[in-house]
């Protein structure tokens, strides 16, 4: 099973290069290959849960070669990326008929998945940068996929800010290499333990906060996200908002700060501050939006704030809450974007003012939107409720009563904002007669149902106890174990 670790990168890359070679003649090949690869990846990542190990690429021992590292945190993120990726790929089969040159789409999609998987499994700092750029470049191209005014403009903004973020991260990596003489995360952690957090290391830390903050769209750095995410095709928005900002933003931050640099109280305070800012400002900006996808995108900023808040508490309970919310958010936010996509697919609109009564026209989408909205709003039987509850508990137990109050308040505003979506989009009669151009395709329904069921099913993970939901306790162990040993 240990040989499955490199496969997480190899398979999507092979698929991405294979598709353009054969798909000139056969139009069904991109669909088939893309979905087959995603199914295999989802199965493998399911099998990797609960396993641990270090894979030495090329058989070279640790300081010489590149390590691939599998632990609890890696496993859940792989599951999130590939599970959501599978749903998005299923959804794309029909949805991407709206666009041309499907093989380019699947090729870029698989590049993005390969990049994210690579970021998650690698144990080498520069390798992480390379994979991050693979995922990022693919996502710039995917945002511009429609080639219309808005898409191009959003993609340009996203690409320039992403490029600046990557540059900052690369400077950080250079500084770390200059001080520690190594790029292997475990070795860097080891060296930093002996030399302490000297000013150059602190400079690198600042650069990492800014760079990965940009990639994760935390609030002072969030300007690109509300443009980029809604402009992409719906399955890509689901991937971007659902997993990309987590895989190349939040995950890397958590990994570096907890396992490489070691969490100091200042660092945790910065994470909490960024978290609360994103949480509050994101939701306030979201309330006034009428474009459905744009509204969801602003909520992504706010929900990422929850994750950062949980992680920034630094206690095992806070970590559990943050990671659990990360998983939950990737499920319900992808579901929301796919719902918006299916509404756009059948009516060609996504502005709430022009919509209405969709629950009668598309009953399935209405149901899944209800599930996802209740989830993100934190209504009891759904998964979002539990993770928010854990985060709020963790705040109270760590003595941050004010933060807990903010978290509750933001949750209420989120619920209000989604009630608006449900009312104007799905239940109230439309202002003018809506013309339904296409009915929903079966594979799209499958993808929506899969995600909606997991929204409910993931709340079952807390039956073992609110303190440690089954899926994430290994990940919490991995993070709270402190810095990597050699």
């Amino acid at each position: 099973m240990i040989h499955a670790i490199p496969m997480m990168v190899v398979l999507p890359l092979a698929g991405a290069f294979f598709i353009p070679m054969v798909s000139r003649r056969a139009a069904w090949v991109p669909d088939a290959v893309g979905n087959a690869v995603m199914v295999v990846l989802a199965v493998i990542s399911f099998g990797l849960i609960g396993r641990e190990g270090i894979y030495h690429v090329g058989g070279w021992p640790t300081p010489l070669g590149i390590d691939l590292r599998l632990d609890g945190l890696t496993a859940i993120l792989l599951l999130a990326v590939n599970g959501i990726g599978l749903c998005a790929a299923l959804f794309s089969v029909s949805y991407m008929e709206l666009y041309t040159s499907k093989f380019r789409y699947y090729s870029l999609f698989l590049f993005m998945v390969a990049g994210m998987n690579g970021v998650i499994i690698t144990g080498d700092l520069f390798n992480l940068y390379v994979f991050m750029e693979i995922a990022a470049i693919a996502s710039y191209a995917l945002v511009a996929f429609g080639c219309e005014h808005e898409e191009l403009e959003a993609s340009f903004k996203y690409a320039v800010l992403g490029g600046v973020a990557s540059s900052l991260i690369l400077i950080g990596i250079a500084v770390v290499y200059m001080i520690t003489g190594s790029l292997n995360m475990a070795q860097i952690a080891d060296r930093i333990q002996t030399i302490g957090l000297t000013p150059p290391i602190l400079l690198a830390l600042c650069l990492f906060v800014a760079g990965f903050g940009l990639k994760a769209a935390l609030v002072p750095f969030h300007a690109w996200l509300p443009d980029a995410h809604p402009s992409a095709p719906a399955p890509v928005s689901a991937m971007l908002s659902g997993v990309l900002i987590k895989a190349i933003g939040v995950y890397v931050m958590a990994r570096l700060f907890f396992n490489v640099f070691g969490p100091t109280s200042d660092l945790l305070a910065v994470m909490r501050l960024l978290g609360v800012l994103s949480m509050v400002i994101g939701v306030l900006l979201a309330v006034g939006q009428w474009d459905m996808k744009r509204l969801f995108a602003y909520h992504s900023i706010s929900q990422i704030g929850y994750v950062m808040l949980g992680l920034g508490l630094g206690t095992p309970l806070g970590l559990a809450g943050g990671l659990f919310h990360l998983l939950n958010h990737s499920v319900f936010k992808s579901l929301l974007f796919l719902n918006a996509g299916s509404v756009e697919y059948s009516t060609g609109r996504r502005n709430l003012k022009q919509l209405g009564g969709m629950a009668r026209i598309l009953p399935l989408t209405g149901g899944t939107t209800l599930v996802a909205s209740m989830s993100i709003g934190g209504v009891p039987p759904f998964n979002g409720f539990w993770s928010k509850l854990i985060i709020i508990f963790a705040c109270i137990r760590a003595g941050f009563y004010g933060l807990a109050g903010w978290a509750v308040l933001v949750s209420v505003i989120t619920l209000a904002s989604f009630l608006k979506v449900l009312r104007y989009g799905f239940y109230e009669a439309p202002a003018e007669k809506l013309r339904v151009e296409r009915s929903m395709a079966p594979l799209m329904a499958v993808a929506l149902l899969l995600l909606a069921i997991s929204c409910l099913a993931m709340s079952l993970f807390v039956v073992t106890g609110l303190e440690s939901p089954v899926l994430v306790d290994r990940a919490v162990e991995a993070l709270s174990a402190g810095v990597f040993g050699m």
Binding site: F17, R24, G58, G59
Partner: protein, 162 residues
């Protein structure tokens, strides 16, 4: 040959003399990447520069006569796939992904055959770099910009207002 498009006779003739030698030198850099400075990327860039020179001197159609666009697109994917397959062969033969599965002996050091899979890997990278750089150059240089709609109106307006 001389009259139809492209640059002047001098550039065309010199291009014809040099294109093969540039390509050859690129291949040399690629194949001896493990012994001298260079490697797959540098060699691929030099090889691509041969095609770019042809594009500049004669125009894109003549470049397509040397390396058709469809073939370049196929080669692009083929190079990357070859690289992956070499890496997977390491898993197959030696049990570790990316393992150098072609054994080398100490007396073969500093020879062409001393590096096992590195030479085929360099060739695969070179192929990939060659074709993708060529494609990037040709696509961006041969792109016909058709400004329409809102942009057209904006340009007109700028032209009329001093």
């Amino acid at each position: 040959m001389a009259a139809e498009g492209g640059m002047s006779l001098v550039v065309k003739t010199v291009t014809r003399w040099l294109k093969g030698l540039i390509f050859l030198f690129g291949m040399y850099i690629m194949i001896y990447g493990h012994l001298t400075p260079g490697g797959g990327f540098a060699g691929g860039v030099i090889c691509a520069s041969a095609f770019i020179l042809i594009t500049l001197a004669y125009g894109a159609p003549e470049a397509y006569r040397h390396l058709p666009r469809g073939a370049a697109e196929k080669l692009d994917s083929f190079g990357a796939l070859t690289f992956l397959i070499i890496a997977l062969l390491g898993l197959w033969f030696a049990g570790v992904f990316f393992r150098n599965f072609i054994g080398t002996s100490p007396e073969s050091h500093f020879r062409l055959t001393s590096a096992g899979v590195i030479v085929p890997c360099n060739l695969a990278i070179g192929l990939k770099v060659l074709s993708s750089l060529f494609l990037v150059f040709v696509m961006l240089s041969a792109l016909h910009i058709i400004v329409s709609g809102e942009g057209r109106r904006r340009i007109e307006r700028r032209r009329h207002t001093p």
